[in-house]
């Protein structure tokens, strides 16, 4: 299981867990991520990186494209398929 930030581009992965303790306000963040379609079992693929420090990242979550910052992506734990 790795952090979403460590996933390579265009590699499909399964969302395994959220580790909200990693950052302040993490629990609120996880709620928001859930509302945006992130949930345990979701299929996640990183599609694009921002051009400065590869931040933010654009991911497909069950086919819906969402942009999040690296600082938020690190609470998402995935398992590459």
């Amino acid at each position: 299981m790795i952090a979403l930030t460590d996933l390579t581009k265009n590699t499909a992965a399964k969302l395994e867990a959220f580790s909200a303790d990693l950052i302040d306000e993490g629990h609120d963040l996880v709620e928001r991520l859930r509302e945006m379609g992130f949930e345990e079992g979701s299929e996640i693929i990183i599609r694009h990186f921002g051009f400065v420090m590869r931040d933010p990242i654009a991911v497909d979550v069950d086919g819906v494209r969402v942009a999040i910052r690296r600082s938020e992506a690190k609470v998402i734990k995935v398992l590459p398929l």
């Binding site: 709620e31 859930r34 945006m36 379609g37 931040d55 654009a58 819906v64 942009a67």
Partner: protein
């Protein structure tokens, strides 16, 4: 009116809610703010072909009923009937982007648990079908216990099914098969998620992939090199358009106002009424209307980018850079536009979802050097800075001009950084932003959007600008000079008195009484300061003639440190009534505009003080 059934369009952002609202209500919309917040309240009327009247409210987009952002709080409070002064809707239309049905099912379940009569509208069903989706609408309807209607894309023709449904009349006694009664939010998001998964499994017969075209376009538009180049090109084009295309219509407006003024001038005797009409009311109307070309051009660009789905991509690309000063990617467009004029810039800050980022953007927008400051810069630089060739084709005058722009940008970054850790600090804001599917924006939506922006500006900010202009005229004209007065009329007016009041404050930064007085009419618009200087130095003629003779005059009357301090002052230039009026309108308070004026004033003073004294010491 009140007998009409009130429908509410509820859904997440990008579900096509607003296009639907525009298609149903057309121009019959009333747009205002909800009491006490800067969240837009969109209400409209819709009459079906058989004459049933509906009142439709387009609620702000939301992802849940938890009220996480101000927009979401308003929307969820209204559907739950908890928003003071707002009627709870009689019937909810949950608008879903069919392609995103899996993700949006959770909120539908949350809504259903409210117990308010509702229906589900599967929007853009044709697009989903093309992408390979197939939904069992009967099963969905049975599962939820509410009617389900498909709608085809967002075009008017595609809404027949919804119109037919509304024509039959909605069932206000319907009790959605919710599990709780009237109190949503009792279950956790996780619990709803698992319920939504169960429903989705039963009703989604086939699931496709989101638009192939969108994926291909993102390969270009989000590309670290080409994407950025395209973005820069678009921004450059937009900036040029606001700066240059607006010039001709602005000149025309200016010209028409001047001819009107001349017409009145010739037709009336020299009375106070004529002066009020010409220098107060007509000048005031002109000061409002003059902003329209820039507002229309800028918002045409923004609405196109928003409607096409590109705006989110632009925000994606700019986000990391803006994040260094605590802003998000969406702040870039308002700030860029502010180089033309802070008025459309501040209005454009509406596209920023987070209130803290929006506020910071509004507060620093006036630090971007707007085009109205150019005449002032040109005048003073022309008079005091020798155009020495500095090599590489660079002239000294150009360098000074560039330095002034840079000073504005750097101070904006500084202020944003300070605001981030002080006033506007609080819970950290994330960037979790949907990148919607690309689509061709509809003319209908763009025209309505532009019309609404213009209406809002004219009605809210416009009236305030007009009245301030008239007040300024009164202050500059009264009291009249005594018989045998030796000085220019303005010295005896309230403005003259204010100038004398300000003089001791401005004297340490090298400003004399004449400058102090000229700064006050300059509040109308910064370029008016040039004309005002002409007035206090008793110059006559049109603007160009005044500017030309001012150059000679200033060279004799001002020292170089004073001139440099004057330039430094205008980098911050806190005095612009229109900016204050729009900031008031957009923050919905006097507190933030007051704060803005105060901090700009202090920065202007400090910068001028340093400039005056340091340059004075160097020149000796």
């Amino acid at each position: 009116m009140s007998s009409a059934v009130r429908l509410a369009l509820v859904g997440s952002p990008n579900s096509g809610k607003s296009s639907l609202f525009n298609a149903l209500t057309g121009a019959r919309q009333k747009i205002a703010n909800y009491a006490g917040v800067t969240v837009e309240r969109k209400l409209g009327d819709f009459t079906t072909s058989s004459g049933k009247d509906y009142e439709i409210v387009d609620l702000p987009g939301m992802y849940s009923l938890k009220g996480r952002s101000p927009d979401e709080k308003v929307a969820s409070d209204i559907v739950m009937g908890k928003f003071e002064g707002e009627k709870q809707p009689d019937f909810l239309i949950a608008v879903l982007d069919t392609t995103h049905i899996r993700k949006q099912m959770r909120m539908v379940l949350e809504l259903r648990d409210l117990g308010v009569p509702m229906m589900v509208l599967l929007n853009m069903y044709d697009l989903a079908e093309r992408d390979g989706f197939e939904i069992d609408t009967d099963a969905l309807s049975k599962e939820l216990g509410v009617p389900v209607v498909k709608s085809v894309a967002v075009r008017k023709a595609g809404m027949t099914s919804l119109q037919e449904f509304l024509d039959k009349g909605v069932d206000l006694d319907q009790k959605p098969a919710g599990k709780t009664d009237g109190t949503s939010g009792q279950k956790s998001t996780t619990a709803y998620q698992s319920d939504a998964r169960t429903v989705a499994k039963k009703v989604i017969l086939k699931e496709g992939m989101q638009g192939r075209i969108t994926r291909q376009l993102d390969e270009i538009f989000l590309h670290p090199v080409f994407g950025v180049l395209i973005l820069m090109l678009i921004f450059f084009g937009m900036f040029q358009a606001v700066f240059n295309w607006a010039e001709a219509p602005m000149d025309m407006i200016d010209g028409s106002i001047v001819s009107l003024q001349m017409l009145v001038d010739g037709a009336m005797g020299d009375t106070w009424l004529k002066s009020l009409l010409v220098d107060g009311i007509l000048a005031g109307v002109g000061a409002v209307v003059i902003f329209l070309p820039q507002i229309i051009i800028l918002f045409a660009f923004i609405l196109f980018m928003e409607g096409s789905g590109y705006l989110a991509r632009a925000a994606f690309l700019m986000d990391r850079i803006m994040a260094t000063v605590g802003l998000n990617g969406r702040a870039f467009i308002p700030l860029l536009s502010s180089f033309a004029c802070a008025i459309p810039g501040i209005m454009a800050a509406r596209t920023i979802e987070h209130p803290r980022d929006r506020l910071t953007t509004i507060l620093i927008a006036p630090l971007m050097t707007c085009s109205a400051r150019l005449p002032v810069y040109t005048l003073v630089i022309g008079a005091f800075i020798p155009n020495t060739d500095m090599g590489y084709g660079l002239g000294m005058q150009g360098m000074v001009m560039f330095g002034l722009y840079l000073a504005g940008i750097l101070s904006a970054l500084l202020v944003a950084g300070i605001l981030k850790i002080t006033l506007t600090s609080g819970t950290s804001q994330y960037l979790i932003m949907e990148l919607p599917r690309y689509r061709w924006p509809e003319w209908h939506n763009m025209v309505i959007g532009l019309y609404e922006r213009v209406k809002i500006f004219m009605r809210r900010a416009g009236t305030m600008i007009l009245f301030s202009m008239i007040a300024l005229w009164v202050f500059a004209s009264y009291p009249k000079p005594p018989v045998g007065a030796t000085e220019n009329d303005i010295y005896y007016s309230v403005v003259g008195w204010l100038g004398r009041l300000l003089e001791p404050i401005l004297q340490p930064i090298g400003f004399n009484l004449e400058i102090a007085i000229a700064l006050i009419p300059g509040m109308a618009a910064r370029e008016v300061s040039v004309a005002a200087l002409g007035t206090v130095y008793s110059l006559a003629g049109d603007d160009d003639a005044i500017a030309a003779s001012l150059v000679d005059m200033l060279q004799d009357l001002w020292t170089l440190p004073t001139a440099l301090a004057f330039l430094a002052w205008f980098v911050f230039a806190p005095q612009c009534i229109s900016t204050i009026a729009v900031a008031k309108r957009e923050t919905n308070s006097w507190r933030w505009p007051a704060f803005m004026v105060t901090y700009l004033f202090i920065m202007a003073w400090v910068a001028s003080y340093l400039t005056y004294n340091i340059s004075g010491a160097i020149i000796g």
